[in-house]
């Protein structure tokens, strides 16, 4: 086994010694982004919520309105609270003291790190796709 450090990521992954041609990392994702990958159908709504909270705390209705403005598609209340419960459970967001009956949520330090990792991954993915499109011979 080799230990391989990936540039731009704070992850060290184990790689089986299969010879140079077959040597690929088993795990490519940063451990900081794992909480979002394992959320299944709630992964995308969760990312939208984290982005919505990135400029400060918001309560449920404000998150829904913001997500609709960011993504262009509405998020249902059941999906919103399914994702909020999962994010809170994983320590990526935290609930603040209620204001009247509305409870605002904010990102935790872990949530900020996870969101940064996720957005960097998406950014890298988008850059790769765009550069390949530009280099395509027609």
């Amino acid at each position: 086994m080799f230990l391989e450090a990936h540039a731009g990521r704070n992850t060290i992954v184990a790689v089986p010694n299969l010879g140079s041609r077959a040597r690929r990392p088993i795990v490519e994702q940063s451990t900081m982004t794992e909480p979002l990958h394992e959320l299944g159908r709630f992964a995308e709504p969760s990312l939208h919520i984290l982005v919505s909270l990135s400029d400060g705390p918001k309560h449920g209705y404000a998150i829904m309105a913001d997500v609709e403005a960011i993504s262009g598609s509405p998020m249902g209340p059941g999906t919103l609270y399914g994702a909020l419960a999962r994010l809170e459970r994983r320590g990526l967001i935290e609930a603040l003291e209620p204001e009247q009956r509305r409870r605002p949520y904010q990102l935790t330090a872990l949530g900020v790190t996870a969101l940064e990792g996720q957005l960097e991954q998406l950014s890298s993915f988008a850059r790769t796709g765009l550069s390949r499109l530009r280099g395509r011979t027609t």
Partner: protein, 235 residues
């Protein structure tokens, strides 16, 4: 809208209902939103870890519920076994189902073991009863005609349930169900025994009266495990 909210588990409602209602008062739900709420409620029911921080579900509940399936399989095999005529009378040979019965009993014992391990040390009667039930269940499944073993097993399970109720592991209604499941059919059989037109020689009828409700033990223990144990207080 309150009806839709009641689709969610109680612990979920305790945590989120107030802000959820506040959200819906700001944005009256459309039909799509209502469907989304129903979907969210199903999700909350299927993901018990989202219900609240107070309980930890035990996945062994699924194997205990699977034991109920094996029990049904055993009953079907036994009910369709070859008819025998001998000095004991006329009955169906049910040996083919004994393996399934044993596996079902082992799975129930595994579930009971999970409960016994959560009982406090002070609940010594329930803990001792637990170990008796864990052993007596599988032994009774091999020798189902030895009724004292069955009585020992059922009484032990009832004592575990009482201990779990006193330790606030299981709610009173679940304890009551586990006690009533064997007591009601046993009482029914006792009453029927005094009726002149009833004969205890009808073995299949006796088995049905006694075993059908007892089979509910697998469901009750399985659901009790999936309901979860109280989360230990943070030190």
């Amino acid at each position: 809208m309150s009806k839709l909210l009641h689709l969610y588990p109680r612990s979920w409602r305790d945590r989120y209902a107030e802000e959820f209602v506040a959200l819906l008062s700001e944005r009256p739900p459309s039909l799509a939103d209502r469907l989304d709420i129903v979907r969210g409620a199903i999700d909350a029911r299927l993901q018990p870890q989202l219900q609240g921080p107070d309980r930890l579900p035990d996945r062994y509940g699924f194997s205990t519920l699977a034991g109920f399936g094996l029990l049904v399989g055993a009953a079907m095999i036994m009910a369709n076994g070859p008819v025998r005529y001998d000095e004991y009378g006329t009955y169906r040979e049910g040996e083919g189902g004994l393996v399934f019965l044993l596996m079902a009993a082992v799975l129930l014992s595994a579930g009971l073991y999970r409960v016994v391990m959560r009982l406090p040390a002070a609940a010594s009667v329930a803990r001792i009863s637990g170990w008796i039930a864990i052993i007596a269940g599988p032994v009774w499944s091999i020798l189902p005609w030895v009724m004292p073993l069955g009585v020992l097993f059922l009484v032990s399970v009832m004592l575990i349930a009482v201990g779990a109720g006193r330790a606030h592991i299981w709610p009173a209604w679940l304890v009551a169900i586990i006690i009533l499941l064997p007591v009601v059919p046993a009482g029914l059989m006792a009453v029927l025994a005094f009726l002149p037109w009833y004969t205890l020689r009808v073995a299949e009828v006796n088995a049905l009266i006694l075993l059908a409700p007892v089979g509910g033990l697998w469901l009750a223990v399985g659901l009790g495990l999936l309901r979860g144990f109280p989360r230990p207080a943070a030190s």
